[in-house]
Symmetry: C2
Subunit: 185 residues, 2 copies
Amino acid sequence: MERKLTAILSADVKGYSRLMGEDEEGTLRTLTAYRQLIDTLIARHHGRIVGTAGDSVLAEFASVVDAVQCAVVIQTTLKAENASLAAEQRMEFRIGINLGDVMVQGEQIYGDGVNIAARLESLADPGSICISGRVHEHIKNKLKLVYEDLGEQAVKNITDPVRCGGWCWNPQLPPGIRFPLPVEP
Amino acid sequence: MERKLTAILSADVKGYSRLMGEDEEGTLRTLTAYRQLIDTLIARHHGRIVGTAGDSVLAEFASVVDAVQCAVVIQTTLKAENASLAAEQRMEFRIGINLGDVMVQGEQIYGDGVNIAARLESLADPGSICISGRVHEHIKNKLKLVYEDLGEQAVKNITDPVRCGGWCWNPQLPPGIRFPLPVEP
């Protein structure tokens, strides 16, 4: 069994089914445009898309720093894109990032590390990022992002509680704007 | 926007994260073997796999009858496979089937019809199948399967309640064995 240590990024759209139910063709147009942006940004940060299904994206990165930088740029870019849409058309992604030793089979990756990334994603606020404690350990001295410690979370169907953090506002922004902004390392 | 009416089959593993957490390599071995069976059965029933991610499979069929027959054969086959595994290693899929007019983009399909198939899947008991009322309308006189009407279900993030049915036991089996068996039409 081939294995490797990799940073796993899992993303999906908050309220995707609701958006589809309200406006199928408009939602697909926005999803397609946003997915093109996301795919481009993942490639630019040296990531690889492992799989996609509907509104969800799974990607992997050889570098934890690249994975987090990429997620921050994705959220910043999509926030700007959403600003030009009517409130009910806005599409916000949640992103979870984990670091794990995963099993490799062809182009696919499998294992607890992948599943935890998906759970972290579901803990993220729309438009924000939730990372595991392991990811935080690797980036805290490299990226000047404000990190909010969410403590240990019991994560559905995962045996051990996962230490995780949510992003967080830029210290230059008024408190309460809980949105990640990239700060150069 | 290209559209088409299609039968959508959505499947995933009940308790996948728990299984992965308990035994990563064993779970991946079983998943790989079961996915090979599922892929073969989908092709044999003239279906097409639209996408896969981890433990989930999305497929489409030009015929509603083919989609349901395929699901029944999948569940029957996997039940037999599971019988040779220790209880804690058994892997049970839930399957949801819907009929919907979906949007087509390249090899992908999108829309409410796809999302409802995924919701039906999550209503299915492990090892069983949940179909929408629309699917039932098309097959009830063609397939001699016992159908349990679950009535209208409020489905998360879907505006209108979805009429759905769960499968059901074969009348030749003792009551309580809620598992679908194929009965020739």
